[in-house]
Every structure is written in structure tokens, then in C-alpha cells.
Amino acid sequence: MLCLQLAPGLVKASDYAARIDYAELQHTDHGYTVQTHIDYRLSPTAKEALHKGVRLTWEVTIELRQPGVLWDTRIHNRKLTYSLQFHALLNQYVVQTPFDRSEMFLTLSAAMNFMAAVHDSTPIPAELLSADKPYLLAVKTQFNRELLPIPLRPVAYLDNRWFLSSVWYTWPIQK
């Protein structure tokens, strides 16, 4: 289980795995902020579970790395948790943002689009980055199976229709 969580790329690539379209650093007065766009794809099983009231949770991990000879050095790490739930009474989709805010959407695509556009407004201090060194911006989103209902968890680890996580995507950046 741990291996699957740590290395999703080791398992067979799922048709429903999320993809990171792009990620970039934006310079602000207080430092750098990260903006990324994630393409979430829900399998029919996941959609059915969502409409039956199952909350789906993703954890977007953003890392700033400094490439090394043997391994990269992580100099900044941030995790943003998004969860998606269907509100049957209102027939709307509720997105719980990492900033303790709930957003309601009339359509699933609207909710997914909202989740797709990640803008981490928490700035990365500019002192962490040197001008003369290369850096990597690494982003991945991890579908959290452990927050699924207990009976669903074993299946979620074995059924690739529940493989909704992305692998690590990296972009080189230069200050």
C-alpha cells in the first residue's frame, strides 16, 4: 500500500489518472506563488460513487526541488487538499478547498474545473531561491483512498478505475 502511494508510476498507468497540464511560479511582492492546472478524470465507478454520496479527496503536492547528482533536494513543500461531494438535496456539487471554504457548483464539470485551477496564494520566500542555481517545480495530485469508506478501500487499491492520482510532473525553472 505504501509503495503504491509513494510510487504511483510503478503501477499500470490508469486511463483515469489525473494529469498536470502545467505549473508555473509567479513573482509577487511577497515572494513566489505557484499556479498549476490539473486535468482530473473520473472513471464511471468514481462518478457513480460520487453521486451516491461518497466524498472524493485529492491531495495536491507542490515541491520546489534543487537537482542533485544522486537525488534532488527538496527546498519547499506544500500540500493542498481538495474534496468533492455531491449534495443530493440541492443537486449540486460541493468542493471543499484547502482554505476551509466550500464552493457549490451546479455541474460536475464546473466543480472539476474549479478544482483543476490551483492557485496557491501562500508565497514561497524569495530568499529560498538563488539566481545562479537551477530548480525544479514538481507537482502531483494524489487521490486519497484512505478517506474512502472502509469497504471501498481494498477495492480502490486493486481496481484501476480508482487509480485517479497523477505521477510527478516536473518543470525546470530559472530565477
Partner: protein
Amino acid sequence: MAYSKIKLPASATIILLFGFVLLSLQLMSSATQESSELGEMYSWLLVINTLGSVILLGLVAFNAYSLVRELKKKEAGSRLTTRMVSLFVLLALAPAAIVFYFSVQFLHQGIDSWFNVEIDRAMDDALELSQSSLNQRMTWHIKQTKQMADQLRDKSEALIAMEVGSLWADSGALEIAVFSNQGRVLASSSVNPSDILPHLPDEQIWLLLRQNKEYFAFDPGDNDEMLVRIIVAIEADQSRFLQVLFPIPVRVTDLADSIEFAFIRYQEMNFLRDSLKTSFSLILLLVLLLSLLAAIWVAFISIRNIVAPVKELVKGTQAVADGDYQQQLPVMNQDDLGFLVESFNQMTRRIARSRDETRAAGLEVENQRAYLETILANLTAGVISFDAAFYIRTANQAAYRILHIPVSHFVGETLPTLATMHSELADVLNAIQSLLEKADDIWEQRIVFLGPNGRQELLCRGTPLFSQHGARTGAVVVFDDVTDLIQAQKNAAWGEVARRLAHEIKNPLTPIQLSAERLQHKLSKELQDGSAEFLQRGTRTIVQQVEAMKRMVDDFSEYARPSKKQVEKINLVDLILEVMALYLPSGIIFSTAFASDRVLVEADPVSLRQVLHNLIKNAQEATTAPCRIEIKIAKVSRNNTDYVELGIYDNGNGLNAEQLETIFDPYVTSKAKGTGLGLAIVKKIVEEHGGVIWVDTSYNGGAGFLLQLPVFEFGNFK
């Protein structure tokens, strides 16, 4: 004490293992509860239990593999272990499988019973009712909002700002706001005066608004309250919009939330129905597997412990069957098996003791047999034993020495068979066989025969053997070569005769001779010529005969007197050539065949010369035609001693059977002038030198004598 030291860790391990298994299962069971804090650990617990099952499966598989290997090797106790383990697995598996099957059935039926059509419909209806209630409220608020929009239509921004406040007060709304299609707020009024800016629509709402010209939806408000957001266009050209936020009563919100929660919960449970079944079945299967595998593994250990004494017993029994009676098995428990092991140990001790006693008795018998064999082997008398059918069973060394055939090599043969292979012994062997067959009691018989060394006389004594029931089981024949003994007795008798002759006859001869000479001396002068001549002839005859008798008595004395040998090393070849030279003038034709020209013997040369003289003279006197004498010298070995064999063969008349028996006796002669002492003296001298002489009966061209003397050095062969 040692036993408990060994067993305690194993038991502790088993108890710990079971404790861990139970704890893990309990934790996993608790984790399935929705409210449990262990829910986060569910997957880990599932993995741990699965790993435990795999490890236990590995242990069971390893034990099963070991058992199969032991079975293939036919190791002791493996079959009993297999049988017990199979029985245990069968007994454990059957009820466990039944319990598992019915548990799964009950579980599935229990889960299915949670859901039915009525509840489905009720939940849908409840949700629909909630939605209808809210929609009705929504419809009313839409209508209300549209009326407010109508009141504001075609009015200036200043008028709108003035009327918004009264509209808000009349409507009971939380917030009323008028904004342009660019999003600019023209007027607003709120229940909360601190709200400077109204709750403006976001991009999504704007999108829908531009598409539908109006927007209405439920919005989550602050503090878990629910709002109705309604936006309608004030003018037909959509240049201005009126947004009104109506509150939903708290009670209504709570009821709607409750229904929504129950509906969602029910929907989720319904969706997870199959997963629930799978999950619970999986847990049940894990419980079964863990319990069963742990039980089987413990069964392997326990059964091995139980079978261990039996295994030792089987090994011990095999060892005893192979003849190892020193087996002592450790008594592990004071139970029935321990009693069995102790009994086994007692049995092996007794068997070992009996074996030792039997071995000692056998050894004693063997020693006795060896002792008897040694005695028999060292007996001078030959001993041959026979079975009931007169087949030879044993024969000692003396039998070989006396008969000159290795009788012991013919064990299992009969005497007639032996006689056919050794024709020279046919007479004596057939005679013994005849006596054996006839005799019912101890018998004794002297048997004379011509052996390879001349005439031999055996004193045979036979004893038939009978069993306790009187049946004949065989016979023993003891025989001795009494030839030399008889000869010695004869020699002693002749010596006594000679001594007496010398004493009784020689003594009166001298006075007889002197008296005769005196008679002639006194009377020859007084008698007439005729009478004197008669007297002279008479006295001369008396003197001559007396001289002859004296010589004869001297010869006897010489024969009877123990010789005084002057032993020295002489070359027999030289001595023979020297003696031959003396006889050459007499016309004897000699031929020689000497194996060596240097044959040293330790002997008295005078005696040995007399032997040669006697033998040559004997041959000369026995031959009428021109005498031819052949002399042979060869080397022979007998009883680990080297001998020189001297053969003297003539071309005379030879010897008949009667002469053969007495040829070496004194006073035995076929010659008119012979005293009959020549060959007797020869034999006496030869025997005094440790040799033997006999007539070579295989020679038919005349008489042949073979004599053997111990040789000191036999030179190289020519």
C-alpha cells in the same frame, strides 16, 4: 527440568503468535466500525493480517514439504505424522468451512436485509418532499423578486437606491442589491449593516445569468445556514439586475439537512452493498485462514512432539533389528509413551545381556573347538571323522603326514572317491571304508600297505558315533604309523639277540678254539700220519668255524652296539665318487645323475661309506649279468626341511612282495653266503643320521633303493 527449558520458549512463541493474531483480528474488526479511530489503520491492518496469513501459509507449506520429503525417504514416524496431521486438518477444516459458508450466507443476507424497495422509495420521497418544499419556497421568492424588479424598472439609479431599502424592509430578505451588467453595484441593502459590499455573483453565476437572464439557486450561507439567491433582470435589455438573498428558516434547513444526510448515507450504503459483502467476507476469510493456518502449524509442532518418542522407538526397533542392542532411548514424558520407551529400553538391555551371554557361550564353544582342533592338529596320530553316510567331515594334519595326501581338502568326499584319485593308497583306504561300514562297535586293526615311502604299517582304531536316540551319526578313525615303532621293536629284539649271542656264544668259542689247537699240538706228534692228518683237518675246521662264528658274533655285536659317530660336513657327491672308484675294477658300470656337485651333509663318513658299500655290494651280488648301477641325487623338501634324495638302482632280479616286507630285517637274505645284516645295518645307519630308506617300488628294472638324508647345503644345480 531440561524438557521444560526446551518446551517453554516454543509454547511462549505459540501463545504470543496467537495473541498477535487475535489482537490484529480484533483491531481490524474494530476498524470496520465507522466511528472507530482505527479506521485510518484499516488498510494497514488488512495488509498485516494478509502478511500473517502468508507467513503462516509458508510455515505450513514448509512443514508439509518437510513431511513429504520424510515420507519419500521413508523416515521413521513420517507416516504416523502424516496420518495425524491429515486427520487434524480434516477435522479442523470441515467444521471451519461449514461455519465459514453459513457465516458468509448470514452476512450477505443480513446486509441485503438493510435495503428494500420500500425504504428506497421512502428515501426518494423524503428527498423529493424536501426538494418540493424548498422549490416551493424558491418559487415564491422568485415571484416576490420579480415583483420587486417590476417596481424598480425604468427608474433612475437614485430612485432605485431609495426604493431598495423599503423593498428590503417589506420583503424580509437578507440582502437586496442592484448592479449593472458590468457588475457595478448601484444600490444594496442588507440585514447586516456591517456588510459594505453585497454578495456579488461569481463568474459561473454571471455565465448562467447571461445565458438565462435570471438565476436562482440555493447557496450555503454563513453559520451553516442556507440561502436562496435569486437574480433577475430589471430591464429587458439586461442593463441592470436585481439580486435578492432570502434566508431559509433554520428549522427547515435542519430538516432538509437531516433528510439529505440520511438519503446520502442510505445511497452510499446501497452503493457499497457489494463492497461491504466483499469486505466482510474478506475479513471472515482472513479470520478463518489465520486461525486455521495457525492451528495447523501448531498441530504440526504438537504432532511432531507427540510422534518424536514413537519416531525414536521406530529407529530403535530398526537398530535392534539390525543387531544393535545397545539402543537406549531418552524418556521424555512420564506418560504412556514414556512407559513404552522405558519398556523398550528394558527389552534392549535384556536382549543385549542375552546376546552377550550367548556370545560368551559361543566364544567358549569356539575356544573349545579351537582347543580340540589344536590338539587334533598336533596329534601324531591321524584323525579322520565321518558323517553318517561316511563322507569325510574333518581330518587333521597328521593324517596328511601319515597318508601323504591332504585329506582335509577332501571334506565331503568318501574314502573310495579318495582311493580312485590316489591309487597307491587304495588298499588302505578301501580297507578302512570296509571296516567303517561293518563295525557297530569300536574296532582296531593293523593295516600294512606300500606307500610312497615304502612299506608302512598303520594301527587303525575306529569308533562309530551315535546320537542320543541311538542313530548312527558318523564315525571317527584314529590311525598311527607304527612302521618305525615295529621296526624299533624288531631292532631292539635283534640287538638283544646279538648281545646274548655275544655273551653266550662268543665266550665258549675261545676255549673251544684253544682246546682244538692244544689237541692238535699235543696229539699230532703222537698219532700216526693218517690220524694226525685227520686230527689236523678236524682241528683246522674247528678253528675256522670258530673264527667264522666269532666274525658272525662280532657282526651281530656291531649291529647291536650303538654307533659312535664322528659327525662332520662331507660332500656326498665326493664320497659317492670315491666309493664308485673302488668298484670300477670289478666291472660294474655306473651311471650318475646328480642335481648338484656339492651336496654337504652332516654325517659320519665311515658309516656313510659303509652304507654305500653295502648297497653297491648288495646290487653287485644280486646281479648275474654285467652289473649296471645308476646313482641319482636330487633335492627334496619335506616338512619344511631340505633333504638329499639318493637313489641307487641296479639291473638285477628285483624284489618280490614277500622280500619287500622283510628286506631291512636282520638275517633276511636271498644269498647263500650272506649274513642278512647288510641292509639292516644300512637302514640302522641311515636312521641314526635322521634319514629314511625304502624300496622304490615304482622301479621295475631291478631293485631300487631311495634314501633321504637331511642336507646342510645343496649347491647350485648343474
